[in-house]
């Protein structure tokens, strides 16, 4: 990549159970333990044995970032996305709110879209009839409402894309935004993910046995790569990155968090519609071929930020793909931030950037016992050499797979 084509991360904006803005996420990752709270089960959606907690934004005060009048008609997913966009711009030292700018591209991923408003609208249609349903609910039901809200908030008239590809979506958002900036079509890309979690969505995920459940007296917890893992910690929030051309960022003296070397994706056709497949061999081949297309080999990667989340089948596939890709070589240190951040909401993406920015990492929460089938031990909290090049891996239920290479600038 030439200096002009090189794309860097200059800002990280986030809102999650850990709090708002980069320092909150850094602190959470250093600490390691997730900030989970009880989910509202009074709605009656949950089975008695269902998961009880989630990593929720809850009643965090977002007013400093989004005035109540502006937030009034927004779904939670839209609010989170706008807060993440504004904190990303602040982090990057950019102010783009005055005039519309066709040089700003927005790419936002979401697995489920605005769930709360969709549910409320459907309830109104089914209970009271379509003639009395609220139009403002419908406006926010579309999956691209958060990306559109970000465009409105930042006056961004460049391309505006919403990617729906489950757990693999956030990495694709980064790849698309980076490609736009590298091609010179835009000077700034705001890329990442947003998600909101409702009690109904939580109950549905539990019904699919996707969530970690309590075991006797022990509280439920996600256990990435652990032998006893039984599901993920569901989360909500948003994380957006500010991407710029490296030369332009350096010219304005911006702090650079990471360089985006490239991203690519593949598909595991053996996956069922709502689970993970057993296509580790083919996916490992795609991973290695993708590295080669970017002039790299597995040996050039000195850190892996894994999307392992505690999912039984998902972590298995993730571990076997990595092991096959590395072959006889020893795997580099593996970070599994979803143990802390939970699944969905993009904090995982922020964690991947912070893996290069020198953030200290606590031990992988929930990991105690190596799974003999996987033979992968995530980071144990011991001091790590600063990473030079990170492979970020995201395998989605349903078959999509996505990878990203971030480098130290």
């Amino acid at each position: 990549m030439s200096a002009e084509a090189s794309v860097v991360v200059t800002g990280l904006g986030t809102v999650s159970a850990a709090g708002v803005a980069r320092p909150a996420l850094e602190a959470a990752l250093r600490h390691g333990e997730p900030r989970s709270t009880p989910i509202d089960r009074s709605t009656g959606h949950h089975a008695p044995q269902a998961a009880c907690t989630a990593a929720l934004v809850g009643d965090l005060d977002l007013r400093p970032f989004i005035p109540p009048l502006e937030a009034r008609r927004m779904s939670p997913a839209s609010r989170y996305a706008v807060v993440a966009a504004r904190t990303a711009l602040d982090d990057a030292g950019l102010d783009v709110r005055d005039e519309s700018d066709a040089g700003i591209v927005v790419v936002v991923a979401s697995a489920f879209g605005p769930a709360a408003f969709s549910q409320r609208l459907l309830d109104q249609i089914l209970d009271e009839g379509p003639t009395v349903a609220s139009p403002s609910l419908f406006t926010e039901c579309v999956a691209n409402a958060p990306a559109a809200r970000v465009a409105l908030a930042c006056r961004a008239t460049g391309p505006n894309l919403t990617i729906v590809q489950g757990e693999a979506g956030p990495l694709r958002a980064v790849a698309h935004g980076a490609a736009e900036v590298a091609a010179g079509g835009c000077w700034l890309a705001l890329v990442g993910a947003t998600e909101e979690l409702t009690p109904l969505l939580h109950a549905i995920l539990d019904r699919f046995r996707a969530l970690a459940r309590p075991r006797g007296e022990a509280a439920e917890r996600a256990r990435p790569f652990d032998r006893r893992r039984d599901g993920v910690l569901a989360a909500e929030g948003a994380t957006l990155l500010a991407l710029e051309a490296e030369a332009a960022a350096r010219r304005r003296g911006a702090g650079i968090l990471a360089r985006v070397r490239g991203g690519w994706s593949a598909f595991d056709a053996s996956a069922p519609a709502s689970g993970w497949g057993r296509g580790e061999e083919r996916l490992a081949g795609e991973l290695v071929k993708g590295l080669e297309r970017h002039g790299l080999a597995p040996a050039d990667v000195d850190r892996i930020v894994s999307g392992a989340s505690g999912s039984r089948a998902g972590d298995r596939l993730e571990a076997l793909v990595l092991r096959r890709a590395w072959g006889a070589r020893r795997l580099p240190p593996i970070l599994a931030p979803k143990a802390t951040t939970g699944e969905y909401g993009g904090a995982f993406l922020g964690a991947a950037v912070l893996a290069l920015a020198g953030t200290g990492w606590g031990p992988t929460a929930g990991f105690e016992e190596t799974d003999p089938e996987l033979e992968v031990r995530p980071h144990d909290g011991s001091p790590l050499e600063p990473a030079r090049r990170v492979l970020v891996s995201g395998l989605a239920a349903g078959g999509a797979a996505s990878w990203l290479i971030l480098e130290r600038p």
Partner: protein, 399 residues
């Protein structure tokens, strides 16, 4: 290059009935039965006739939603039309889809049963239908695709944006073959939602007519097989038309109302033309978004005027929504398919409906399928939230 097209529409399963109906200016919008709609204010849509399909892999047939089935059938037809009986494992293939509702209809069925507390009788496969990414994944699973599979969900611009993403993936060498398109099905939430916005006409939609009163929803899928010229030639295939460029933009104006000045949409058109290395003067046909809502059609005309000047009154339009309704996330795909066919046939597509044209949007609406020399055509899609996408296609003739 576009080397194959597949379509499922209210005209039936396959390109042939769609192509024939569009060429004759027919409209498939009328009464529909997908769900009970007696208590809705309007009662017309363009529903795909029921038909069982058999995916290539039998285990992929379980739990397919309507949108999945449309997508799988359209992809199969597009591949066959391209002379590819199967996805060639030596050729890295990707699936790039747009969608906005996906399996929402099936998800609504689950939710209705869930609300009645019949949890045990609420099948999981209905719920698993929810992700909008499902149709693209169903196609990839059925064809054993191992390359990128991506779904764009940017409202009515989704499929056009997805086709643009596929074009970029081909240019960047990420894939050698792309199945690009979109699929959506009718569901209560969009039918109810657009009714709450009073955006649905009681009669079949009449885009750009003075008496238009809103859109008509539709369902279906369209898939284009995209590959480089070298790839098509290498396997002895004849390209149908060239996909020369794609452009996108955002209005950043309002969540539902279009920018009345057409600024955002004109930016997308300019970007697509620049990407295609074409000038506004090169464009011979525009497949307009043409929803038929009072505000949108005028704003769209303003955008055309910004780019094409006085020629905005003269360039003939195609308005596919008048024939098959608004496919929402799939609209960009079926309108791209109609554009491909117009270039292939070198014939204008009569726009369904009669009556005077809206005086504030004095566009050229063909009344008959007259022959025309069409070298370059633009397909435009403008979505909720101000998402805009434009595609530029060109006639292909062997040098």
């Amino acid at each position: 290059m576009v080397s194959g097209v597949g379509v499922v529409s209210a005209w039936g399963w396959g390109v042939a009935p769609f192509r024939s109906a569009v060429a004759q200016g027919g409209s498939a919008i009328g009464p529909f039965t997908r769900f009970e709609h007696a208590n809705y204010p309007t009662h017309v849509a363009a529903q795909v006739p029921n038909r069982a399909i058999r995916p290539r892999r039998s285990r992929c047939a379980r739990g397919l939603t309507h949108a999945d089935r449309f997508a799988v059938a359209a992809a199969d037809e597009a591949l066959a039309a391209a002379g590819l009986p199967a996805v060639d494992t030596d050729r890295r293939t990707g699936v790039f889809f747009g969608g906005s509702t996906g399996g929402m209809f099936e998800c609504e069925e689950f939710y209705r049963r869930w609300r009645r507390r019949c949890l045990d009788r609420a099948p999981r496969h209905l719920l698993a239908a929810q992700p909008v990414s499902r149709p693209a994944e169903a196609v990839a699973r059925s064809l054993r695709v191992s390359g990128p599979v991506e779904t764009v969900s940017s409202a009515c611009a989704s499929a056009a944006l997805a086709i643009g993403v596929a074009l970029e993936a081909l240019r960047a060498g990420e894939v050698q073959l792309a199945l690009a398109g979109g699929s959506d099905s009718l569901c209560r939430i969009t039918f109810g939602g657009f009714n709450t916005l009073r955006a649905i006409d009681e009669r079949p939609c009449r885009p750009f007519r003075a008496d238009r009163a809103g859109m008509s929803l539709g369902e279906g899928s369209a898939v284009l097989v995209l590959e480089s010229l070298e790839s098509a030639r290498g396997r002895g295939a004849r390209p149908l038309v060239e996909l020369c460029g794609a452009g996108a933009s955002a209005d950043a104006h309002h969540m539902t109302a279009p920018d009345p000045g057409g600024n955002g949409a004109s930016l997308a058109i300019r970007r697509a033309l620049r990407d295609a290395a074409r000038e506004p003067g090169d464009v011979d046909l525009i497949n307009a978004h043409g929803t038929g809502t009072p505000l949108n059609d005028i704003a769209e005309y303003r955008a055309l005027e910004r780019v094409f000047g006085d020629r905005a009154r003269e360039i003939p339009l195609a308005v596919t929504k008048g024939s098959v309704g608004h496919l929402l996330g799939g609209a960009g795909a079926i309108e791209a398919a109609a554009t491909v066919h117009a270039l292939l046939e070198q014939r204008l597509q009569p726009v369904p409906g009669q009556g005077p044209v809206e005086p504030r949007a004095p566009v050229q609406l063909p009344r008959e399928a007259v022959p025309a020399e069409l070298e370059v055509a633009l397909s435009l899609n403008l979505g909720f939230g101000g998402c805009n996408a434009a595609l530029v296609f060109a006639r292909w003739s062997e040098p």
